[in-house]
């Protein structure tokens, strides 16, 4: 335990020095923190859980606010139990009062009903006043304050009921929200702020869904909520407000697109396309906001929210429109855009740039490569004739690769990126591979005569994906940062293997040569080839990982042959032979690579693939040739022989790997 304490103090001293250097704390405070921690540790065996600097700073204003609320140092509340008990008790009392009134309400005269409403309100607020101002009891005082606000909402409903008022009931919700917000502002009460936020959201949704009145003025409610949650020092509240602002954005855009469809006679496809592209500048704005908010610990969660959502908002539209969509005009996004959407696109893009420049200047930190490149992409997508399928496919695929890999690279390059943002970046990379694989196979099945071309098209995309992954690793290595390159590499190999495996069945019918296909398909494939070739050349000469690049190149060449040479002359036998050769080639290359990098896991993976292929082909060929019992006997014998041979081969491989490892360790030991 003493060893653990020493390590803890060493780490604390290091951190404290860093905080002083960053200007977070003064030298005097550093000394105090260290002496206080040592004194605490002498009394208690376990070192206190110290929050990171950002978290400490974030909770500081909230704690300070709580202290000022009490007017004196807050009492020690033993755990969370009393809070929960009082919470449940408040709820029970509230439900009880409501049930009592529901049962007896109709027997009362109007005057009696109204008097009770006023009495209840005054009583609850009086109790809140007594709790907070006289007794200094935060818990009970704030519980009654909340009940008072709930009673105010109930009073609005009851008055409406007594006088049968039904005109625009959402106004009542707005009135209730304003009162809750005012009380929260006055007493810095977080619960009332949450109530107000929830009511404002209900009001907004009611106005939009029932009365069909989306309006940009709802943004005022969001501005008010930001001010309120900053005053109450609520990080969760700020995240809620951030989400609310996105809800408002989609409401306004959906409404604008709906009107375009209704009034201008544009096709729904064009409106949706325009709507998808409208998310790009919002994504950039979110990224810029995330960076801008970094400096305020109170907005730490909002920063993570904007960072993650920003990435999603860039990726979503790009993967959504990166397909051969049919448009009758060259500029479907501009034709489909209303003036509002054009203004919004330019305005958001400009605000994002200004915000990013301001953050750069004030903090000295450069904008992320993702932000800079995607800003260019957003401008390009706005001005290019996306109605031309060639332009659409090339730009969106390029944008997609930029988003996925720069997002991923940025999440390892920037120290301020949280685990949530990094997880989102991983998720998007994986989702891209899977979505593209299923979609390419689906398109292939649908088109039938281009089945092989579509599926091999995915392998091409997979190769480019694989190389981009290596490029990220190479760039990060230059920046002295580590990057787990094997995750996406492994997934890419697995999905490519699965694709070739699917193609190796006797499903492939007479195929049409790819050059007979639409011009845009050929252009997209040539684009993949050019991109992959450029990446190959760069990585072969620059990267330290030359072997995986070269092995990937072999698979790529084999794929190109199949893609461009296949046609009506190839029978199913030719296809079967071709894909089986590729599968064997993949297994052989993987085994070779596993020995080179000493990876036992990869050996098992490659052998698993080999077994799967051999069994599949065995049943493919023999199922119709040999009768049932004989088939099983022959199979059993063959498996026994094959198992023996395979096991011997596996042992040999493992021995080679083990020897290589020991040699490596000895080498390192010698150097040391």
């Amino acid at each position: 335990m003493a060893k653990r304490q020493d390590a803890y103090f060493r780490s604390l001293e290091k951190d404290a020095r860093r905080w002083v250097a960053k200007g977070l704390i003064e030298e005097e405070q550093r000394v105090k923190i260290l002496s206080e921690s040592r004194a605490f540790a002498e009394g208690v065996d376990t070192p206190p859980q110290v929050e990171p600097a950002s978290r400490q700073a974030a909770t500081a204003p909230r704690k300070a606010a709580k202290t000022t609320q009490a007017g004196a140092p807050e009492r020690d509340v033993v755990g969370w139990l009393p809070t929960v008990m009082v919470g449940i008790a408040t709820l029970l009392v509230g439900v009880g009062i409501l049930l009592f009134y529901a049962a007896n309400w109709r027997f009362m005269s109007t005057t009696l009903k109204l008097s009770q409403i006023f009495l209840l309100l005054t009583g609850l607020y009086g109790a809140a006043f007594y709790g907070l101002a006289v007794r200094g009891s935060q818990l009970f005082g704030r519980a009654f304050l909340f009940l008072g606000l709930v009673a105010f909402g109930a009073a609005i409903g009851l008055i409406a009921q007594i006088f049968h008022i039904s005109a625009h009931p959402s106004n009542g919700v707005l009135l209730w929200a304003i009162v809750a917000a005012s009380m929260s502002w006055l007493l810095r009460d977080v619960a009332s702020a949450y109530l107000s936020a929830a009511l404002l959201l209900v009001w907004n949704l009611w106005e939009v869904s029932v009365y069909l009145q989306p309006n940009a003025w709802f943004a005022l409610a969001i501005v008010g909520l930001v001010a309120l949650f900053v005053r109450c020092a609520s990080r969760l509240g700020l995240v809620f407000t951030a989400a609310f602002s996105l809800v408002l954005f989609f409401q306004l855009n959906f409404h604008a697109l709906w009107r375009i469809r209704d009034n201008a006679g544009y096709s729904l496809d064009m409106a949706l396309f325009a709507g998808a592209l409208a998310c790009l500048p919002l994504g950039l704005l979110c990224l810029a906001l995330g960076r801008f908010l970094e400096r305020w610990p109170l907005a730490a969660w909002a920063k993570v929210f904007f960072g993650s959502v920003g990435l999603l908002l860039l990726w979503g539209p790009l993967i959504g429109v990166s397909w051969p969509l049919n448009f009758s005009v060259l500029y479907p996004h501009l034709t489909g855009f209303a003036a509002f959407l054009i203004f919004q696109y330019i305005a958001f893009l400009a605000i994002a740039q200004l915000l990013s420049s301001y953050t750069e200047q004030s903090t000295g930190k450069k904008a992320s490569p993702l932000f800079s490149w995607m800003s260019l992409a957003a401008i390009a997508l706005f001005v290019l004739p996306l109605g031309d399928k060639r332009v659409l496919l090339i730009t969106t695929h390029l944008g997609l690769l930029l988003t996925v890999f720069m997002g991923l690279g940025d999440s390892f390059l920037s120290l301020s990126v949280s685990r949530v943002e990094r997880s989102v970046a991983w998720m998007l990379a994986i989702a891209t591979l899977f979505i593209k694989m299923f979609a390419f196979i689906g398109l292939g099945i649908e088109s039938r005569y281009y089945y092989v071309a579509y599926v091999l098209g995915f392998v091409m995309f997979g190769v480019v994906f694989f190389l981009c992954n290596l490029l990220v690793e190479h760039v990060l290595r230059q920046q002295k940062r580590s990057f787990p390159v094997s995750y996406l590499q492994g997934l890419g190999v697995l999905l490519s293997y699965a694709t070739f495996y699917i193609l190796s069945f006797k499903l492939v019918d007479t195929q049409t040569n790819i050059f007979q296909a639409s011009y845009f398909v050929v252009v997209l494939l040539v684009f993949f080839v050019v991109l992959a070739s450029a990446l190959f050349l760069y990585l072969i000469f620059q990267s330290a990982q030359k072997l995986p690049v070269a092995l990937c190149g072999a698979i790529f060449l084999a794929t190109c042959i199949g893609l461009f040479a296949s046609g009506p002359r190839w029978s199913w036998v030719a296809y079967s032979l071709y894909f089986n050769i590729i599968l064997f080639l993949m297994v052989a290359l993987l085994l070779f690579y596993s020995v080179k990098i000493n990876s036992v896991r990869l050996v098992y993976f490659a052998l698993g693939g080999l077994i799967l292929q051999v069994i599949t082909r065995y049943f493919d060929v023999l199922w119709e040739l040999i009768s049932g019992s004989l088939l099983f006997i022959v199979t059993g014998l063959l498996v026994m022989v094959g198992g023996y041979l395979l096991n011997r081969q596996r042992r040999l491989l493992l021995e080679v790997i083990e020897a290589s490892r020991q040699q490596g360790q000895a080498g390192r030991g010698g150097v040391q």
Partner: protein, 181 residues
């Protein structure tokens, strides 16, 4: 809490009471001084009649569109959803109920022609469907069925103020006022 803002707190509480009092006062004044208007209810889809503890009411004056749309639209105006409009009401000699005679977004122009005008909001411009804020009548739990069954014999007395504001005063079934006790 040493720095508890006593004055502001009680001011805010008082403001809440004043707002509630204002709503109540305005309603009471309207019901007391408003011009009495009798409106006949029309049966509606029974599935949407009861929603919680109130009955949804619909009136003859709720829908002014269809074939007769132009008859009411005296000034040939183009209405939009959620627009505030005014409907002129008249009772023919010897008739029991008031009926709509004209609709317009221009209150002053309509008021010059007709003394009794009620305010509403356009729900559907095409059907000239109007909401007056008189569409809910709150009843004790499970007692709305009686009104639902008799909807074609239901009528209400409404108080209409000079500015077009209106409030539900009484509800009748077969000419007899309904009182829930």
């Amino acid at each position: 809490m040493k720095d508890f803002p006593i004055k502001s707190f009680w001011l805010l509480v008082a403001l809440q009471l004043v707002v509630l009092g204002g709503i109540i006062g305005q309603r009471m004044l309207l019901l007391k001084t408003g011009h009495p208007v009798m409106l006949q209810c029309v049966p509606i889809d029974p599935r949407s009649l009861l929603s919680g503890d109130y009955v949804i009411l619909r009136y003859k004056i709720s829908d002014l569109g269809g074939l007769n749309g132009n008859k009411f639209n005296l000034f040939q105006e183009k209405f939009v959803r959620n627009q505030k409009v005014y409907v002129a009401l008249m009772r023919k000699a010897g008739a029991r109920f008031h009926e709509a005679v004209a609709v317009s977004g221009d209150f002053a122009r309509l008021k010059k022609l007709y003394p009794l005008v009620i305010r509403g909001t356009i729900v559907s411009p095409w059907a000239l469907s109007i909401r007056y804020g008189l569409e809910s009548y709150f009843v004790p739990q499970f007692q709305g069925k009686a009104i639902e069954k008799e909807m074609s014999n239901v009528h209400v007395e409404v108080a209409v103020a000079e500015n077009g504001d209106s409030g539900l005063r009484k509800l009748f079934i077969r000419g007899k006022e309904v009182k829930f006790r």
